[in-house]
Symmetry: C2
Subunit: 172 residues, 2 copies
DNA sequence: TTCTTAATTCAGTACATTCTAAATGTATCA
DNA sequence: TGATACATTTAGAATGTACTGAATTAAGAA
């Protein structure tokens, strides 16, 4: 594999990371592990990506929390080695699930708490908007909730959806 | 409508904004317009939310770009007044569409460009991962692309999806 | 136990984003 | 035309986020 292409890949995956809300260092580490056949040590990762060992350590901890990388030990070696979770899709769902839980759910609760009392004393127009917001949030939450319960289901939802939009397209 | 509840709603919608990638001021302005029956002037908005007129101006410009608010003129009045797009769902799709176009699409192009040359000289294991990444990105892009072409379709995809996951849940 | 090597934590720094307020631009009115 | 009333732009301040590197902790080896 060409050195230069590998690094271009790593950088672009870093940018993609920030698109869906994980920071660039995390995504770059992840990309590096994806193109590496063998487990890599923290030291190796930090050196290759020119980031501090401290930062690498924190990112890897976080990536383990997301369920995206795994730590492997080699007998007779004190260093920790890291490998990527082999299934990329599974990984994607893990991230989606985590982000929903950490960011969406808590805010959803608060928004909902305020939405219902607002209905009182609101004009019809405003009430309609609030109702729509409530429905939108409920639908999104419902879909995410049910889709992400497990990876198998998530996958089947995605593939189904993919077929559905293709069919839709032919019709119109 | 209770003053206090309104402001709690505005703040929590602000937080929700940052979850899906629009900044807090923008989301707060948006929330304020949602609970307001009548169009509001820039000055009124800035005063109510305790933000500078400059900031309000920039946020409103951006919200107009997203297709989320609209400017209305009142005859015999020099001020600009703003109203929210009445259909909350439509608005949500507009945001999704814009974010995809601005952020996801450009990165997707770059990642794809690097993915294919990487295949050469990669081990089977790595090649499998790269293939999976490609498939995942393609599927996501495909779904988003097709779903978001127009609001009517987007809505039907969502409602269909919602029914699908409900059925799935009963079965298992 | 102490020595050694590696991982982790964290205070401070660098960088990025968001916001303010003053300056500038624009349209309407007298 | 100049004066007025508003909107917009922008330089720099404030705030927030990510990162570094030194200090600390942990754990295997002697």
């Amino acid at each position: 594999m060409d050195e230069k292409t590998v690094s271009k890949f790593i950088e672009s995956w870093g940018t993609m990371g920030s698109v869906w809300g994980i920071n660039a260092s995390m995504a770059r580490i992840h990309a590096l592990l994806i193109v590496s056949e063998r487990p890599l040590s923290l030291d190796h990762i930090a050196k290759t990506l020119r980031i501090s060992r401290g930062n690498a350590s924190m990112c890897l901890k976080e990536l383990r929390n997301w369920g995206v990388v795994r730590l492997v030990k080699e007998p007779g070696d004190r260093q920790d080695y890291y490998v990527t979770e082999p299934d990329v899709w599974k990984m994607f769902f893990a991230i989606a699930r985590e982000r929903k839980r950490r960011e969406f759910d808590p805010v959803l609760t608060v928004v909902r708490e305020t939405l219902s009392p607002l209905h009182k004393g609101a004009s019809d127009i405003v009430r309609l908007r609030l109702k729509q917001m409530e429905d939108l949030l409920t639908t999104l939450n419902f879909i995410a909730e049910r889709s992400l319960t497990n990876d198998k289901r998530a996958r089947s939802v995605l593939s189904f959806l993919s077929r559905f939009v293709r069919k839709k397209n032919l019709k119109e």
